[in-house]
């Protein structure tokens, strides 16, 4: 009986190690809000550009969203520890964000913002960032988002006017806002589960 109890206790220790390691690494779901924020920012920029201020709409909206993201992340970071995977994912999104900012700002200011090229490049970049993140995090749902963005890249090269805009808005809705809300819900669920008492 003693040996059996001892073995159970050892197995419990092994389980505790696994659980705590997973818990320590679980930091990525807390970025759901960024998807929602950027999804809304894209909608605002598109709407604003549609009203005839495309040269201002994209640079201003993207800068505002970028600053807001930076401020919120800085505030959150002091509470949560950094992980290697978290830093890798963060680096991908920051690099993509800076590339996108430079591109959109330049295209917006130069007035050479052709809708097809713009959507193709934005969708390809979002596809790349989502795919890379999903591979690091082993998150199939995010990879599905990458597939949607890549499909839109192809469609942007062949599709036409209004249909393309609608396709872009639909992709934004599902891959930014719905996906972001799902991420936030997953984070809230994990918080509700509370501490794993050691």
């Amino acid at each position: 009986m003693d040996t059996e109890t001892n073995n159970l206790e050892l197995a419990e220790r092994l389980k505790l190690i696994e659980t705590m390691m997973i818990e320590g690494r679980r930091s990525t779901e807390s970025y759901g809000w960024t998807f929602v924020l950027w999804g809304v920012a894209y909608y605002v920029a598109i709407l604003w550009a549609g009203l005839g201020h495309a040269y201002l709409a994209w640079p201003v909206t993207m800068t505002a969203a970028g600053v807001l993201t930076g401020v919120i992340i800085a505030r959150k970071r002091s509470k949560k520890p950094a992980t290697t995977a978290g830093r890798a994912v963060g680096a991908i999104w920051w690099a993509m964000g800076i590339s996108m900012f430079i591109l959109l700002m330049s295209m917006g200011l130069s007035g050479r913002a052709d809708q097809h090229t713009l959507i193709a490049i934005v969708a390809a970049m979002l596809g790349m960032a989502n795919a890379a993140s999903s591979m690091i995090l082993k998150w199939k749902l995010q990879f599905a988002c990458a597939l949607v963005w890549w499909s839109l890249t192809i469609y942007a090269c062949f599709g036409r006017g209004t249909a393309l805009t609608i396709a872009f808005l639909v992709a934004l809705f599902f891959c930014q806002i719905v996906f972001g809300v799902y991420g936030m819900m997953a984070e809230a669920r994990a918080r509700r589960q509370g501490a794993i008492h050691a």
């Binding site: 050892l10 197995a11 390691m21 818990e23 320590g24 501490a195 794993i196």
Partner: protein
């Protein structure tokens, strides 16, 4: 029959084991985050972290962020090696228990 390994008593404590496992997955962690994850009381957590620090398994950094004190704990290379050794010993012991049952 090969000799069975002994489990490191410093790591074997449940809370200390949980703390090392948590720290193994992050760069560094705040005292409050460790408390939240383990559900331990301040006193117990502080005491167990001190034991890990004395054993050289974690290092401590105290600083001020926005005028608030912050205590950060980081796993040392020694701590990582000790945890790896502990897990191997644990698996070996469990493996021998399974073989012993046959």
């Amino acid at each position: 029959m090969p000799e069975l390994p002994e489990l490191n008593p410093v790591i074997h404590g449940k809370l200390r084991l949980a703390l090392l496992s948590l720290l193994s997955g992050v760069d560094d962690a705040e005292f409050t985050w460790l408390r939240e994850k383990t559900g331990a009381t301040d006193g117990n957590l502080g005491a167990q972290l001190m034991k890990l620090e004395e054993a050289g398994y974690v290092s401590v950094e105290k600083k001020f962020v926005q005028r608030k004190p912050q205590t950060l704990y980081r796993m040392t290379d020694g701590g990582r090696a000790a945890l790896t050794e502990y897990v191997q010993a644990l698996k070996q012991l469990l493996g021998s228990a399974v073989l012993g049952d046959r």
